[in-house]
Amino acid sequence: MSIEVKNVSKAFGNVAAVNKVNFSVKEGELMALLGPSGGGKTTVLRMIAGLEMPTEGDIFIRGVRVNDISVQKRNIGFVFQNYALFKTMNVFKNIAFGLKIKKWKRADIAGRVEELLKLLGLEGLEKRYPHQLSGGQRQRVAIARALASKPSVLLLDEPFGAVDAKIRQELREWLVHLHKDLNVTTLFVTHDQEEAMEVSDRIVIFSKGNLEQIGAPREVYEQPANEFVARFIGVMNVLEVEVQNGVGRVAELEFPVPTHPDGKKMLIGFRPYAVQISTDLAQYRYRAVLVRTYFLGIMLRLELELPSGLVLRSRITKEEYALLGLSDGREISLQIRQYRVLSSEASGLPPELHTTYELPPTIGEHI
């Protein structure tokens, strides 16, 4: 294991920022700490770096307990959210700083810096000062500086937060490639679920100082452990139902949940893609009116209002939309192909309740 976080808590005064968190990062893994701002993920990252001290619990880097090792001695590479480049030094000196501190020979420093400049596509910029660089270049200088003395782990705090939406995409792909080339254990903090899904091998999801779920992007998307994760990762329809005779009911919708007792209230969640629609009103069980269409590029999101006033969200491709000849105000029929029972934070249900119930396939299914 490259990084291990064991039972770590952190309190600022009376405020618990991180609450008994456990997770580990494998050697060479690219991992994301994901959560809304104020979720405690940056605090965890800073505790691993040694910029904050845990109130309790232990942190290990490559098997060594580092709680009592100062930030200088932990041999980590840290990339700050706003990069924290040394404003009074040029690119070369910024990258060389850590090597100079570690008393490398001049020729070795020059060689290493040149290597990094090439690796990060910064050739020809070594004489520039931070204020003469673009946002993307600054970020790459910050990463080069952090990588210079071959740290055992690379920690990045919101690495794409300070750049424009458009180059953010470019930088993400670039980070994946860089990680593939160097194979250095990388842990980064982000509040953007799309970013975490796209870039990382595994994701740790935080909310209000608590670890909600760890897993591969596909896992957390398809099997969210609880309501928070379900709502945070992608779009999900979440409904509260009451069980009667093994069927959860809300308004006109019915969800068979055979193993749950009568009278129980629970949350049912389903992704927009699980809501199938047809212009043939007889095809599916429920009727609804298409009240609004959102264009998201190749995919469209539809808001469907049931006679009871309940609104569901569905998602279809542009072609399909055209094929069906849909428009706002059109009446349609729908079915919910797949749904799961969610444990809700409030009710404190154990996370093993993410069973999937499949409805029997219906005729004319074509997604």
Partner: protein, 303 residues
């Protein structure tokens, strides 16, 4: 801002000036009053110093300055500045580091204490040291027994000067250090730098202009301090007279008016030099600020 409006001053445009612009007569009246006030209160006294100093020609001017007692005053002033400015520089750096980079209880009280010399009358400042180290003072007898002279001697002058000038460096540095934050320092730590290395390579270069400004202000005050030094000096001609005290002595009849103005002209030159460096430093930091702003703008338009 209003440049394009003023480019063609036709009567039509004057009539349709922007709602937030003052009428020309208001503007020029205010400018005139301001200029006359600045002229009478600032420029006239300044020019008068040099005019009076050179009223009897260069040779008298040079002779006034090379007079042994005046010369000794110049030397003493330099010695006092050379001792007190570096001490206050170290204090300013230490205080600014503790106040700007850390959170602790009683911070605003500490800042108020640092500001204290600005509010205390220089005469009272001098008096406090007389009460401690003078012949009638708390340590007077002990110092006399050990043959140490502080009051009416150079050490007293240095002490009084340090007291009056210690806030300058700290006061300039604290806001600058607070504004730069401590992320760059933390970055240096993650790269393995020790506290000293971080301070030397990262903190100091980023506050150098503020530091320079604080030091020159501190120096100007150290060389020009009158009240506090006057109380502790004893006015021994050729021994404990600093330049400002020498000016007084010459003016009050122990010399000529020209000689007083000659010494004063050196102090006025020092003031001009201080203003010059200040303007230059402001220009430098303004330029750095503009560059940063432009970089941010570039960042936003970078697609």
């Amino acid at each position: 801002m209003a440049g394009h409006v003023q480019s063609k001053p036709t009567s039509l445009q004057t009539a349709s000036r922007r709602g937030t612009e003052d009428a020309p007569w208001v503007k020029w009246t205010l400018i005139s009053i301001g200029l006359v006030f600045a002229l009478v209160f600032l420029l006239l006294p300044l020019l008068n110093v040099f005019f009076q100093a050179f009223a009897k020609g260069w040779s008298v001017y040079i002779a006034s300055l090379t007079d042994p007692d005046s010369w000794s005053a110049i030397r003493l002033t330099l010695i006092v500045a050379v001792i007190s400015v570096p001490l206050n520089l170290v204090f300013g750096l230490a205080a600014a580091w503790a106040i700007a980079k850390f959170e602790f209880r009683g911070k605003s009280l500490l800042i108020t204490v640092i500001d204290l010399p600005f509010a205390v009358s220089p005469v009272v400042s001098g008096l406090m040291f007389v009460l401690l180290f003078g012949m009638q003072g708390y340590f007077g007898q002990w110092l006399d027994d050990h043959n140490i002279k502080i009051i009416f001697a150079v050490p007293g002058i240095v002490l009084a000067t340090i007291f009056v000038t210690f806030p300058f460096v700290a006061r300039e540095l604290i806001p600058v250090m607070q504004a730069t934050g401590s992320e760059q320092e933390q970055a240096a730590l993650t790269l393995g730098a020790s506290g000293w290395q971080t301070f030397w390579h990262v903190t100091l270069p980023s506050v150098k202009w503020g530091l320079l400004y604080g030091v020159i202000l501190c120096n100007a005050r150290a060389m020009g301090e009158f009240g506090a030094v006057s109380v502790v000096s004893g006015h021994i001609t050729g021994q404990t007279d600093t330049m400002p005290l020498r000016v007084q002595k010459l003016y009050e009849g122990y010399g000529t008016t020209e000689a007083a103005f000659a010494v004063a002209s050196l102090l006025a030159l020092l003031a001009l030099l201080t203003l010059g460096i200040k303007t230059w430093v402001e220009w430098k930091t303004q330029r750095a600020y503009d560059q940063a702003q432009r970089a941010v703008a570039d960042l936003k338009s970078e697609i």
